[in-house]
């Protein structure tokens, strides 16, 4: 479960995220959407403990991220848009390293099924330099899933994936959510939100414009019209501009 209350993130005089509050429950998939510069990535990075929030409270699986960051981080996984890997570690060595960092009891036993599920088992002894963009993404996902996180953050999860990879990624997110994980993802792809997300939160210039289930948000901006597309809802909600 993710509980966010009064989250503010400032960079000097510039406020990137303004007084953001929301709750995501286990099994829910929240889609963060908004125009460029809306504060989606900043929000995700604050929630994952990568950057310190200026104000507000973030609770991850019941743990206060500011008060007990280690306990909160033990429950989460963050998947950046660009996979960040260590150049000198093979696929298997990545998993061994992450397993030790998270204190996973038997990482080798858990790693093999993960590699097979993500179809990179045959690349286990390869370095990241020998992997394609999609393979690297899969390795980053395997590293994130190794400690069975209760909360997952995906930043633009479909970047650089081929159609088959996109399908697998969607399935993977839904599978984790169905098994009780709490998922937040940010994406520009509205079709991804329609297919994967149970809830949506629209941001603009760091402020929450709307949140709720897809149906609730659609109803709010449909103005009584039937069959309004999510794209149209998004444009109406954000005013059709970045500013």
């Amino acid at each position: 479960m993710i509980e966010v209350s009064g989250l503010i993130k400032r960079y000097g005089a510039f406020t990137a995220v303004k007084d953001l509050s929301f709750v995501v429950r286990p099994g829910e998939v929240l889609g963060l959407v908004g125009p460029n510069g809306a504060g989606k990535t900043t929000t995700l990075r604050s929630l994952a403990g990568i950057i310190p929030a200026t104000a507000g409270t973030i609770r991850i699986a019941g743990q206060d991220l500011a008060a007990d960051p280690v306990a909160a981080k033990r429950a989460l996984a963050f998947f950046p848009d660009e996979p960040r890997l260590f150049d000198y570690l093979t696929v298997r060595q990545h998993l061994a390293f992450v397993g030790r960092i998270y204190g996973v009891a038997n990482p080798e036993a858990l790693a093999q099924p993960l590699l097979e599920e993500l179809e990179i088992a045959d690349k286990a002894e390869e370095l990241p330099g020998a992997l394609s963009r999609g393979m690297k993404q899969k390795l980053a996902i395997a590293c994130g899933l190794l400690h069975s996180p209760a909360v997952m953050f995906f930043d633009e999860p479909l970047t650089g994936l081929d159609p088959l990879g996109i399908r697998r990624m969607k399935d993977s997110i839904l599978k984790r959510a169905r098994s009780g994980a709490t998922v937040v993802l940010s994406s520009h792809l509205l079709s991804l939100l329609e297919e994967v997300c149970s809830h949506v939160l629209i941001l603009k210039k760091g402020e929450k414009i709307a949140d709720g289930t897809l149906a609730e948000v659609s109803a709010r901006f449909a103005n009584g019209e039937a069959n309004v597309s999510l794209e149209e809802i998004f444009i109406r909600a954000t005013g059709g501009t970045e500013s």
């Binding site: 990075r45 994952a48 403990g49 950057i51 280690v70 260590f86 390293f97 038997n106 390869e126």
Partner: protein, 589 residues
């Protein structure tokens, strides 16, 4: 079309210069530029001016000049060296000719209606900037080679002739070799042909020399002058003067002893240069495929260099076996040691350390028992002392398998369920282990091999006590040394980022690096003062009571405690800093 390409080159150069000046508005570049300029002035120009002034006022007789009769020998030897370089250019390459273009140049120029010959001309024009710059730098660095005669300008132009002609020759040779490949001649067949030709010329030359010259005798090697005389005769005999003629022409302007001789040498040098230029422009071969492959490699290399990843840039990354097996459970800090050791060379393994240690002990013991080898033992001690000093002071700049290398992964490191100090400690472990191992070996060698006169008081027992004291001290001192550059990476990430990019050059980057090295020395000196004072006070106060050996041991413990406390404070503070570290904020322009 040539006008457009010329415009591209000139504007690119102009904009590069303007942007370099503009960034001086940022303090980190301005301060770096001031320090760098000061260093260059004091290192190169000041000595040059003061030397001239002193010579002018008769303070000293001026630089030693090369005797005029030796000039032909020097010229012939230089030409021989140039000839060897040229021949290597015909033997070593195994790739098709590929002129180096940037990715943007390939994207814009290759599909454009530009003739291949024009592209070659453009590349030649492009290379001139780098060649002129290199010639200027070499002239500056070798400014004291005034014994060759000439002046800075003749030397600069001379270097340009050498570098530009060599550059043209290598391009022409690569085109010729590509043409051979197109005709089905493999690189190995070509190498055999070139080596065969060289062997043939060598045999003919030697036979000629054998007929005309006597074999060298012991008296020919009596002193420098007799060696020079014999070489002079040798290089002026048979076909050698003719073989070396083009290379001599290229070297002529550089080795001209005065201005009239320089102008006389310009003609032949220009003739060789123009001949090469015509050869290259007329040798049109298909270089596009190789250029694209080269450009992609270059782009990947630049990206790796910008991330500070020099081993990736050299394409040397290979999957390797870890130095030790990482257990599934245990302190997470050791996972960083395990990970970062994988990024070092495979030679850094415990078995290497113990093997070298065994060899050092056995070697020093053996040398110690041989009275005739005392000098060699002393030399080993001096070399080990130099290695230790070098490792201690410059090691932290070279062993960078810590936060400095991982800062770009800070996003991921910060999601780990670890306290900041744990990440910092874990990241520091690898360079600490590497530098400590080298220092232990070097200092151990010093203690075993160094027996200078007047140091008889350094008894074996005292040496043992010193060694035992140094074992725990070395890693702590290394950790302290490494804290400084790691703190710089976290406290001044923008500075550290620009310095990580070693492809960044210029006087301001030189200045930035000097500031960092000086800062590191200063911090270490300040940090060592309390420990050093405590050690001296303890040794002075206790050696009368408990003896020198015990006093050293007591002092070592005190120093260790003080240094550990300082290092721990540093790690804890850096951990706090890491917890609050916001890469996106820190690296904002």
């Amino acid at each position: 079309m040539i006008g457009a390409l010329f415009y591209l080159r000139v504007m690119s150069l102009r904009n590069a210069v303007v942007s370099r000046f503009r960034r001086l508005k940022q303090p980190k570049y301005l301060v770096g530029a001031i320090v760098g300029a000061g260093y260059v002035y004091f290192a190169f120009f000041r000595g040059f001016h003061t030397g001239r002034a002193a010579a002018h006022h008769g303070a000293y007789p001026g630089p030693v000049s090369l005797p005029p009769d030796l000039l032909p020998t020097v010229l012939a030897l230089g030409a021989l060296a140039l000839l060897v370089i040229v021949l290597l250019g015909w033997i070593l390459p195994d790739q098709r000719a590929g002129l180096t273009f940037s990715e943007a140049e390939i994207a814009f120029l290759f599909p454009a209606p530009v003739r291949r010959r024009t592209l070659i001309w453009y590349k030649l024009l492009n290379s001139q900037v780098a060649i002129m710059f290199t010639a200027a730098i070499i002239t500056l660095v070798t400014g004291s080679w005034q014994f060759l005669g000439g002046n800075a300008l003749t030397h600069g132009i001379g270097w340009w002739f050498i570098l530009a002609t060599l550059h043209l020759h290598f391009i022409g040779a690569s085109f010729a070799m590509t043409r051979l490949m197109d005709q089905g001649i493999t690189p190995w067949r070509r190498r055999f042909a070139v080596l065969g030709l060289i062997a043939l010329v060598a045999v003919v030359t030697l036979a000629w020399l054998w007929r005309d010259l006597r074999a060298p005798q012991g008296s020919d090697f009596a002193d420098f002058r007799t060696i020079a005389d014999y070489l002079s005769t040798l290089l002026a005999s048979g076909p050698l003067p003719w073989l070396l003629l083009p290379a001599k022409a290229v070297l002529g302007p550089y080795l001209a002893p005065d201005v009239p001789a320089f102008f006389l040498a310009l003609g032949p040098a220009l003739l060789v240069f123009v001949a090469h230029y015509a050869w290259v422009l007329r040798s049109e071969v298909s270089f596009e495929d190789a250029s694209i492959a080269k450009s992609e490699k270059r782009a990947a290399k630049i990206a790796a260099v910008r991330e500070g990843n020099w081993r990736a840039a050299s394409g040397a990354i290979k999957a390797r076996t870890p130095a030790f097996r990482l257990a599934a459970t245990g302190r997470p800090e050791f996972a960083f040691l395990w990970k970062n050791l994988l990024s070092t060379f495979p030679v850094f393994r415990p078995r290497t350390f113990f093997g070298v240690a065994l060899a050092v002990v056995a070697g020093c013991q053996w040398l110690g028992t041989m009275p005739g080898y005392r000098g060699a033992l002393a030399a080993v001690g001096v070399v080990a002392l130099l290695v230790a000093a070098y490792t201690l002071f410059l090691g932290p700049q070279l062993a960078r398998q810590d936060l400095r290398s991982d800062l770009l992964n800070a996003d991921i490191l910060k999601t780990y369920p670890l306290r900041g100090w744990q990440v910092v400690l874990g990241e520091l472990l690898t360079p600490v282990v590497l530098l400590s191992a080298i220092l232990w070996l070097a200092l151990g060698t010093v203690l075993l091999a160094f027996h200078p006169p007047g140091f008889q008081w350094l008894s074996p027992a005292l040496r043992l006590a010193l060694g035992a004291g140094l074992v725990p001290l070395v890693p702590v001192v290394c950790a302290m040394q490494l804290l400084v550059p790691n703190a710089a990476a976290l406290v001044f990430p923008a500075w550290a980022q620009s310095m990580r990019n070693r492809s960044e050059r210029g006087i301001e980057m030189l200045g930035q690096r000097l500031i960092f090295v000086a800062g590191q020395f200063l911090v270490i000196l300040v940090a060592l003062v309390p420990a050093a004072l405590a050690a001296f006070a303890l040794i002075f106060a206790t050696q009368w009571l408990i003896g020198a050996v015990a006093a050293v041991a007591v002092a070592a413990v005190a120093v260790l405690v003080i240094l550990i406390a300082e290092v721990w404070c540093g790690i804890w503070w850096l951990g706090q800093r890491f917890d609050k570290f916001d890469l996106s904020l820190e690296l904002r322009p």
